[in-house]
Amino acid sequence: MSVDAPSKKPIAEAVEVPTFQITLRIERYNPEFDTESHYEDYEVTVHGTDRVLDALHTIKWDMDGSLSFRRSCAHGVCGSDAMRINGKNRLACKTLVKDVNPDKPITIEPIKGLPVEKDLIVDMEPFFDSYREIMPFLVTTGHEPTHERIQSQADKDRFDDTTKCILCAACTSSCPVFWNDGQYFGPAAIVNAHRFIFDSRDEAGDQRLQILNDKEGVWRCRTVFNCTEACPRGIEVTKAIAEVKRAIITRRV
């Protein structure tokens, strides 16, 4: 064990974190007063280690209490604070200010393709509608909860990646097909279908594949890879979509 014994400073405040000034250019929209959105600039002092979420909190708590955005767990597990940061979909709680070119104004916008309710908050209902379409639940018969059901680690690993989804909509709202065609299921719904199609315990694979074979299903995907890049959980979204496409062809629903 090689802990480098650091200087004995038991109090956190003893260590100074360098601070610097940044400008956040935030797209604001208040349906009560505005007919369309506009951008407002905020000069914020941040620590070198701060995340975009910390900067947004500083604005909300100290400068403009009306700024609205969603956040919950604040460390990338709940998936509430997906937003466009300098044009890319990211979670504000997992994006360090220093990593998004803070020398220039940092643009913060709501995720695209879903109706904006206020400021950075969008209506998630269309997103959840697509999710519900693909039957996002295990379909199985004859298994009572009186004992456990054997599943091999290998069978579990087959769909492990797509169970990491946090339904933040970063992938779906980064997809150009979704922007242009509100009917497309979008990557998140397909990822969640994948999670069941490749679960050895599930009995509704054919049904799900049929749903995704629909005209608004997987074939709309043009393999742009925006979704994979946007996923804050590192899920290989495009790969999952490709696996579903292949399953439709080979299993032939």
Binding site: H75, M135, P145
Partner: protein
């Protein structure tokens, strides 16, 4: 009230974490019409953050495990202040609830034989936590969410309406419970709240209301809890006439991030220690060996060699002291830092990099690996983490009937973290997810039975009550020039953190009560700008009232209990006192003044057969001589001490 939206249901569940969803599923499967209300988006509740696993004595890792051993561990962890019936039901029913979750579709890591893999955790005799990587809470909540979608699709087929019997109202906050005919001591008849987006007021008529709102951590500055944890359910219950017990017991999780400041308090899962991680101070010493308290002597290793041997051969070695219950580890870290052996940023070192191969760390602890890499620029496969205590869980809460979740107020039920009793003075890791499932099922059934019986003669909400709660909700807009709710909230967090935190002293708690009174007074005059539409300042103003009431309960109870036990440590009364073991402190609101009142009541007696799961020599560490006067060692069943 022209713009009041009104709904009628049989059961109203407030909170959409694991306990609320499990209760809602049970009530819906009983055939009732159920509404779920939550402050966040559906599926984002605090349960999502649970990392470690669900404690259930399935015995997959060690065939010696059974409910009796789990019960014993839970009681020891809670220092025998637990409601024994709750601990018993939990230990007995957790395995079945896990298997049931699996039939709903939950995913777990597997043993080589394909069984559910179980991991080690603090205070648990055997590896007992069913888990999937370090995202068990996410899987639990997603599975329950999926189950609800499946029930809704059943209803769509049957009634042509997916929400015929189960509807989720998300981003809606409840501000007050309603009483039948407006009688403050009568049965509940529903709840009043507002849509966070539009600010529109909503009334739910329901004979049975289930509070599943979680905890209170947002009253503390350094916390692992998310913004929802403003003690809403605790405060709603108080104002509705219910009692809160054990509010002095607040769990400070030993390992929160301490650096950088923006992420201070964020949880570092106990699985790091369960899977082999060790704690060291700035001198490189594994200090936990110095902190094994008298009651746990003999159950924990005394040398590093023995501790390290336990991971491979638990039959012949004792557990490492890093896996003591959380209260012990948190206090130990606090002492090390205070005595100058802390890390650069005021924590200690948690190291797994020298204990497991890098690939294994990434496989078992992927979220921790990402979290430290992304937020702290630390690679946990190569470097130790800096960690320190963070406010994590409240053991105290609404007093309920263990079997049904019923509170003392007719029609009002509660489940999960918002209840008190199950965990005594300190909760073991992994027992929270079990708690949600076991008591979620029971409370859902309890509320359903009550609501079905009440269906012929439904309680009513009168207009005068609606006018009163509407006026209270709108008050912050009626004033000008008052302070900002953000300022007051930050002050409250500082007070609780500094004066009623992990180590407590009488004068500081007196000071805290004075300051809370001052903040309460100023909060009564705070003002909020703008209007009701998605107005976060207004939301906080309403939450602040809850946090202040709950914080006062914590401070008053902590001042009263003159001993140290579990999640309550008094510097001026450092020892555990057997005379206090049988005392529950209960808070209620004085109907006349609306102020918090404290009473003492007896901890429910432990049944004889449960008492005899322990040996006299162990019970003597917790109980008074008089309490054990008639107790004789009669060992029942197999020996559960390794």
């Amino acid at each position: 009230m022209t713009d009041l939206e009104r709904h009628a249901y049989d059961v109203l569940v407030i909170g959409a974490g694991g306990s609320g969803l499990r209760a809602a599923i049970e009530a819906r499967e009983a055939g009732l019409r159920v509404a779920i209300v939550c402050k966040s988006l559906f599926g984002k509740a605090h349960t999502v953050m649970a990392e470690g696993g669900i404690a259930a004595s399935m015995g997959n890792s060690n065939p010696h495990d059974n409910w009796q051993v789990h019960f014993g561990d839970t009681m020891r962890g809670g220092k025998f202040l637990n409601n024994p019936r709750m601990a018993e039901l939990h230990a007995k029913e957790a395995p079945r609830r896990v298997w049931e979750l699996e039939t709903y579709g939950a995913l777990f890591d597997r043993t080589p034989e394909g069984k559910i893999s179980q991991r080690n955790f603090g205070g648990h005799e055997y590896a007992r936590l069913a888990h999937v990587g370090d995202r068990t809470g996410l899987e639990l909540i997603r599975t329950l969410q999926q189950k609800i979608v499946s029930l809704q699709q059943e209803d769509e087929r049957e009634f042509g309406d997916a929400e015929a019997r189960l509807k989720v109202f998300m981003e809606l906050t409840i501000t007050e419970l309603m009483h039948d005919g407006g009688a403050p001591d009568g049965p509940v008849s529903g709840a009043f709240g507002y849509w966070r987006e539009s600010g529109r007021f909503v009334l739910f008529d329901a004979p049975a209301v289930v509070l599943a709102t979680g905890g209170i951590g947002k009253s503390f500055k350094v916390t692992s809890n998310s913004w929802e944890y403003t003690g809403d359910g605790h405060a709603l219950a108080l104002r509705a006439g219910a009692k809160l017990i054990n509010m002095e017991f607040v769990q400070f999780h030993p390992t929160g991030m301490v650096w950088p400041p923006s992420v201070k308090g964020i949880l570092v899962t106990e699985s790091v220690r369960g899977d082999g991680g060790v704690l060291r101070n700035s001198e490189g010493k594994r200090f936990m060996f110095e902190y094994v308290p008298e009651v746990f002597r003999g159950q924990y290793a005394t040398t590093e060699e023995e501790a390290d041997g336990w991971y491979e051969d638990p039959e012949h070695n004792k557990r490492p002291p890093e896996l003591l219950p959380r209260d012990e580890v948190a206090r130990a870290i606090n002492s090390e830092v205070k005595e100058g052996r802390g890390s650069e940023h005021g924590g200690v070192f948690l190291d797994v990099s020298t204990r497991l191969p890098a690939d294994e760390i990434k496989r078992r602890l992927p979220s921790m690996h990402h979290q430290f890499l992304e937020l702290a620029d630390v690679d946990i496969t190569a470097q130790p983490m800096e960690v320190g205590p963070t406010c994590h869980y409240v053991m105290g809460g609404i007093e309920v009937d263990p079997d049904t979740g019923a509170s003392s107020v007719p029609g009002l039920f509660a489940v999960g973290e918002v209840t008190g009793g199950m965990h005594g003075s300190n909760r073991l890791g992994g027992n929270s997810l079990g708690d949600l499932l076991v008591f979620g099922q029971r409370t859902g059934a309890g509320a359903a039975a009550y609501a079905a019986a009440a269906s012929k003669d439904r309680p009513t909400v009168i207009d005068a009550s609606i006018d009163a709660v509407t006026a209270t909700a709108e008050e912050p807009f009626q004033r000008e020039g008052g302070e900002s709710p953000y300022t007051l909230h930050q002050e409250l967090q500082q007070v609780m953190n500094d004066l009623v935190g992990i180590i407590r002293r009488e004068p500081e708690m007196q000071e805290a009560l004075d300051k809370l009174a001052d903040i309460r007074e100023r909060a009564a005059h705070l003002s909020v700008e703008g209007r009701r539409q998605f107005n976060p300042g207004w939301h906080l103003a309403l939450d602040l009232r809850n946090m202040l009431q709950v914080s006062e309960c914590v401070a008053r109870s902590a001042l009263e209990r003159q001993e140290s036990r579990g999640g309550h440590t008094r510097e001026d009364f450092p020892g555990m006192d057997a005379k206090w073991r049988s005392v529950n402190l209960a808070c209620h609101l004085d109907p006349a003044t609306g102020m918090v009142q404290l009473t003492r009541q007896q901890v429910p007696t432990i049944r004889d057969d449960l008492m005899h799961l322990f040996e006299r020599s162990e019970l003597e560490k917790y109980f008074t001589t008089e309490e054990l006067a008639d107790f004789q060692d009669v060992r029942q069943g197999e020996d559960d001490q390794s």
